[in-house]
Symmetry: C2
Subunit: 146 residues, 2 copies
DNA sequence: TCGAATCATAACATTCTAAGTTACAATTAC
DNA sequence: GTAATTGTAACTTAGAATGTTATGATTCGA
């Protein structure tokens, strides 16, 4: 049931961009911060971009920026971007078994309700709050991000 | 099959055993129903057994049975057995990056709260209810499980 | 008591997916 | 024009999930 690390990386990226405060950040820089490859970052940002969360500027000195006000950008917004198609996976059906062939119908409601129940927790938390919290932790230490 | 399919398979097994109503069911039979291998079933049941949800009888004519009253066996009980250690994966930390090195602290609360919020949905649903629902769907059709 | 059926589990093999990499066209700054 | 960058496609790699084989332990029934 492990959601891939994409969710955490996406949050990482958003906090980083918030910190960078309108300065463009390259995929190379983000990749070093996340300890991965620039292409992996660009792929993930591609998803965030299509949802209007991150914006990009091509060309030399190009890079990425947050396209949404951070105090309106919640973890639920980010979650919806990176979530897998199926929260709980339903395996192959055996048509000869009445349990197997009806299982999806039986669990569908609980499954979607369960996933949706996380909304309350997640939409309470904005990226702005997380960056604030980080500032508190650092208490004025230099923000050498990487 | 993804990791999360274990949850659905575990539910499948419990409903099947409930249906079989005190008759022992072999891993072979369950494997056919789930369309997988008996060893895979025994491995998963091993987890359910250690939590007192399923019981087993070794030897010829042996097999598995539900060890908990079905009206007290909720999907949350089953979920707790099959869940991965970390609900949301936290990727490797870059100690040179203040965002990366503090990320776990920032998201830990929301992550555990999010997972826990599913409890309400899941503990409302018992295996007994699911088998009842299945009976309704079948409306007296013969219960040829496989 | 023996053989067949079954569980428990270890060890190994296979398959699948996520992640990483390479490559290159398109864009932009200087 | 060149260097730096995004966007994406195509391929490779690594690791996890799943499947398989094998074997010992247990139990039933002949």
């Amino acid at each position: 049931m492990r959601a891939s690390s994409k969710f955490t990386i996406a949050i990482h990226i958003c906090i980083y961009l918030d910190y960078s405060n309108d300065q463009l950040v390259s995929s190379q820089t983000l990749a070093e911060s996340v300890k991965t490859n620039p292409v992996v970052i660009r792929r993930l940002i591609g998803q965030l971009r299509r949802q209007g969360i991150v914006g990009s500027v091509a060309g030399a000195k190009g890079g990425f920026y947050l396209a949404k006000p951070v105090d309106q950008l919640t973890l639920w917004d980010i979650y919806l971007v990176v979530r897998d198609d199926e929260f709980f996976n339903k395996p192959k059906v055996n048509p000869d078994c009445v349990v197997s062939s009806n299982l999806a119908v039986l669990v569908d409601d609980v499954y979607s309700e369960s996933e949706h129940s996380m909304k309350n927790s997640m939409e309470k938390v904005t990226v702005a709050q997380l960056t604030d919290k980080l500032s508190d932790i650092l208490e004025g230490s230099p923000l050498n991000q990487c």
